[in-house]
């Protein structure tokens, strides 16, 4: 497999990170968004990040000049149809994503791989929006934030996805120093499923918002467990609302299986608009 021409749709945090990473692999990348302002901001921020890497002597100015030429921002209509891989990283709304994939299917050449960076929707369900021929080349590629640093890419095989395509993508990412993981199309894939109890169990250990207990659990899991962040400080960073919403979505997807049940404290904090760092109140106070 040789991926040379990449299109990334959605210039938010994930989309621009993915575009930056592919450009750093010396691929030709077209970053697409409905909003010209969002596109310009993403481009400025990627350029600034590369300039910093030159200052830190992690990249040469020659490499960065070349990368700047390889990354273009465009509207969908301006994008070349002769692309190897398209990665969708837009808002998590199934109907909007399906509508987009229907358009993409018509726009791109038959060999183009269509993929989604979704963390919550089944790949097979999204692939309903494309032709039967394209379904074999429709795959989930779930990156982790920040995409330029986090090595994992979950390669998700939908019901009709060609198995060889998944294996080839796995090998390609591995050749580029990513750490791919091949997984079946099931709710939460690997990480968002297995990680649920990193939050759920500590919530049940403290049971209420005792600040000392919260600190102690974070401390033990960092110092004894070796985790970089404790569950409560991580929930505050991710956003208690975002974490609660992912928990509920996985819980519903698994037909309210008790292992995934949200804790009452999560709902209570969301109702009280205590979302963590962004609202300056969460399990900790940020004044």
């Amino acid at each position: 497999m040789n991926l040379q021409r990449i299109v990334v749709i959605g210039a938010g945090t994930m989309g621009s990170g993915i575009a930056q990473w592919f450009t750093q692999q010396m691929c030709f990348v077209e970053l697409v968004d409905n909003s010209p302002e969002q596109l310009q901001n993403a481009l400025n921020s990627i350029h600034a990040s590369w300039d910093k890497l030159v200052e830190k002597e992690k990249l040469s100015s020659c490499q960065v000049n070349q990368m700047k030429k390889l990354l273009e921002v465009k509207s969908l209509e301006q994008v070349s149809s002769n692309t190897d891989l398209v990665i969708e990283a837009i808002i998590e709304n199934l109907e909007i994503k399906k509508e987009l994939f229907h358009k993409l299917d018509k726009h791109f050449a038959p060999h183009t791989i269509l993929s989604s960076n979704t963390s919550s929707f089944p790949i097979t369900l999204m692939s309903e929006a494309v032709s039967n021929e394209r379904k074999a080349r429709f795959v989930g590629l779930h990156f982790f934030n920040p995409a330029t640093l986090m090595k994992l890419v979950e390669v998700i095989k939908g019901e009709k996805t060609d198995e060889k395509l998944c294996n080839d993508l796995y090998a390609w990412f591995e050749s580029k120093d990513k750490k791919p993981a091949l997984c079946k199309d099931s709710a939460g894939f690997i990480v968002n499923r297995v990680a649920r109890n990193f939050y759920g169990e500590p919530l049940r250990i403290v049971e209420n918002e005792d600040e000392n207990k919260v600190k102690e659990v974070d401390q033990i899991l960092k110092v004894v467990g070796g985790f970089k962040m404790g569950p409560f400080e991580l929930m505050d960073l991710i956003g208690i609302d975002v974490n609660y919403s992912v928990t509920c979505s996985v819980w519903e997807a698994y037909k309210r299986e008790p292992r995934f049940a949200p804790h009452k404290l999560q709902k209570q904090m969301v109702d009280e608009k205590r979302f963590g760092r962004k609202s300056k109140r969460g399990f900790y106070k940020y004044d």
Partner: protein, 179 residues
């Protein structure tokens, strides 16, 4: 190293059944005891055995020898002994069945086994995903390697204590625990 005895203090390091643990305490009514209780609820033991002055969790203790320790009654001599033996004890005031670290990790391991059972991904890819997607220091199956029996014991204990179905173990974990 199952038992370390000194100055009328007994530190029990073994991973036995609940009954085996209680038997050790019955046999040592006049000693000050500190006991490995990763798979059980220290509160239950404290109530039944006043000579138990503290408990600790060493189930997932690796070469760094960091352990979670709880003192019902602080015992500096025992704490010094842990340090002398090369352990790095971190004191907790929370009394919880399975302590903090083992209780959280067994739930992560159990979910990884459920995912494996449903063929979501291979063991290697699940380990890899957790290490490189969310920076876990180890993959779930690396933590559970050789300790499946104790992981299952703690899950069963949590289920018995709470009757919450969230602690029911995956079939593949049960199989791994007996093999």
């Amino acid at each position: 190293m199952t038992n370390v005895s000194f100055d009328n203090i007994l530190i029990n390091f073994g991973f036995g059944t609940k009954e085996e643990k209680k038997e050790i305490l019955r046999e040592n009514p006049n000693k000050t005891v500190l006991m490995e209780l990763s798979c059980y609820d220290p509160a239950e033991f404290y109530t039944e055995f006043p000579q138990l002055h503290g408990s600790f969790a060493a189930l997932f203790c690796d070469e760094e020898k960091k352990i979670e320790i709880h003192f019902k009654q602080m015992n500096q001599a025992a704490l010094n002994k842990f340090i002398e033996l090369g352990f790095k004890p971190f004191e907790t005031t929370i009394i919880s069945c399975g302590f903090i670290f083992p209780r959280t990790i067994v739930q992560i391991i159990n979910e990884a086994y459920f995912a494996l059972e449903e063929e979501v991904a291979s063991k290697e890819d699940i380990n890899r995903a957790m290490k490189f997607g969310v920076n876990y220091p180890k993959g779930p199956f690396e933590w559970s390697q050789g300790k499946e029996k104790f992981v299952l014991t703690l899950l069963n204990e949590l289920y018995q204590k709470t009757q919450d179905k969230r602690y029911l173990a995956a079939s593949l974990l049960k199989t791994a625990a007996v093999s």
